[in-house]
Symmetry: C2
Subunit: 322 residues, 2 copies
């Protein structure tokens, strides 16, 4: 975990407390909640929002509320993703749909979504509501497009993958930075800058996530290894591998893509293909492109109170192992 | 179908057109949309909202927008219900999750939900946003409570069934009437009256729905018969039947409850138990109680431009066959 300023860590803890309070109305919901949030996530989106909203003119409580809303929205998408991916594990622990069935996952996701909307309405800042409602819609759109893309795995293009990464991940990063900045009541061009920074950082975050999914084969990240591959997902490293390998290896990859029971030997071969110099270089070049873009936008925000912390976060994004 | 005033029918058609327009951004979403909305629903909630918002002071376009938002919210819950119920059929046609898998149902539901929220934000009336966000949250809560209730089928109480019916169905009827009335800018006590009317009508609507699910065994409503029973749902008629029948018949009902492959002979026996005089009387007495309540609240709204149409709708609710 990268080092977080003490004040920011206190605010992140308050985000956690707010979420807990909001989801404690019914016993069964509380139980499911405990299950989801005991496995605490990194809260990267909440953190981005807290940083972008840093300002003497905004009450910390309001900033924590916005960050909590964003974390709730993100959690709702995670819970629904479990049904979509038919994931058995999430954040290193069993997922909600494995313990309580798909039905609970769908409904719990809806419960969390609408809770986020209730809190948004309470916040009562129209442009922030607008941005978050649109981001939520774009996330669903991105996932639907992804499902369709994966039906024609062989013909996927880099621009399609980038579009999906933006919608699925970049979009909420963008909204987190942008709405945080809106709350801080800074000039429009700076709000725009925060949005672009968030978008680039989100796509970079997704590329690093994709890399880590394969790295998990070697490292012990608590994540199961090759999860994306077993779920049939074409991520950036796999995309580049398929561009770089020969015909036979491509056939091999396509044969096992989406297979949940791949032998250790075959997993090792898949891992090796992904680890090839060309594939790693191509993926990391793409990652660097988006990190550079995020940093470039941050340069226009040097005077902003979050500058140093945001720089840390961006830097950490390419070296993180979880 | 009950007779709807010509102006109201034109407005309902505009609701349909608005929804179509809003869901036409991506090809795949449009395809799924066509699938869902080709099987047009009754749009009862949209209708209630249109009636409650009737006023010379409100532009028809705004009223149609609110009704469209409500219909979108309702549709999102239907699409997600398909996953929850593992329903094979919805509105007489194959459900989204049968044609496109659970994944598409979850994501399409999220897409429709968030689209509704985008339109709400555009409407920009804070108390209406608040009411609809809370109603959406209560619907999810109701469904979660229902799942838990059905795990202890034998000990279900009438008050539990009523609570779930309120949250699952009554709550959105209530919000439709209430937000419609809010839009009409009428006195607070009348808005409250509309809310209570909607709530009672929604619960009545659910009881009639429960009755029709068994009626479908005899009638040809296009619906598959005993669907609720096969899905393991304890609805009002089944609850009363289990109170009224002897020990052996209760055992029989509990044995086949949730079984998807019940023989015609056994279905006939289940139907007969539900049709018993006591069970029918108990269910219809409960239905009448809520219809009477809805009518009582309507009596305070005699001067309202929707009075006659609302009276028709309430009356129709107990005689409808679909």
């Amino acid at each position: 975990m990268h080092k977080i300023n003490k004040t920011t860590q206190i605010e992140l803890d308050r985000v956690q407390a707010t979420i807990k309070k909001e989801l404690s109305s019914e016993k069964i919901i509380q139980e499911i909640y405990e299950y989801i949030f005991n496995a605490e996530g990194k809260k990267t989106r909440a953190l981005i929002s807290l940083l972008a909203s840093k300002s003497k003119n905004v009450k910390p409580a309001i900033r924590v509320n916005l960050a909590s809303i964003i974390e709730l929205l993100h959690t709702a998408t995670l819970v629904h993703d479990d049904v979509v991916d038919e994931s058995e594990r999430r954040r290193g622990t069993k997922s909600v749909n494995q313990v309580w069935s798909n039905s609970y996952s769908v409904l719990m996701g809806d419960f969390i979504y609408s809770k986020a909307f209730i809190l948004m309405v309470k916040l009562n800042i129209s442009p922030i509501l607008d941005e978050l409602a649109k981001a939520t819609n774009d996330i669903a759109k991105g996932e639907i497009i992804q499902l369709e893309l994966f039906e024609n795995r062989e013909s996927i293009k880099l621009k399609d993958l980038l579009k999906v990464s933006y919608l699925k991940t970049g979009r909420l990063f963008e909204a987190s930075a942008k709405t945080g900045a809106m709350l801080g009541n800074i000039p429009a061009n700076e709000i725009k800058c925060f949005g672009l920074l968030g978008k680039a950082l989100g796509i970079a975050f997704q590329i690093q996530d994709d890399l880590l999914d394969y790295e998990a084969f070697k490292l012990d990240t608590g994540k199961p290894s090759l999860k994306d591959f077993k779920e049939g997902k074409i991520t950036f490293p796999l995309y580049f591998a398929m561009q770089n390998v020969g015909f036979k290896d491509k056939e091999f990859l396509l044969k096992y893509l989406g297979d949940d029971h791949i032998s250790k030997t075959h997993q090792a071969k898949i891992y090796k293909l992904i680890q090839s110099e060309e594939t790693q270089r191509a993926t990391k070049t793409l990652l660097k492109k988006y990190i550079d873009e995020a940093n470039r936008h941050l340069e226009s925000l040097k005077h902003h109170p979050c500058y140093k912390e945001m720089l840390n976060l961006i830097t950490f994004s390419t070296i993180r192992k979880i």
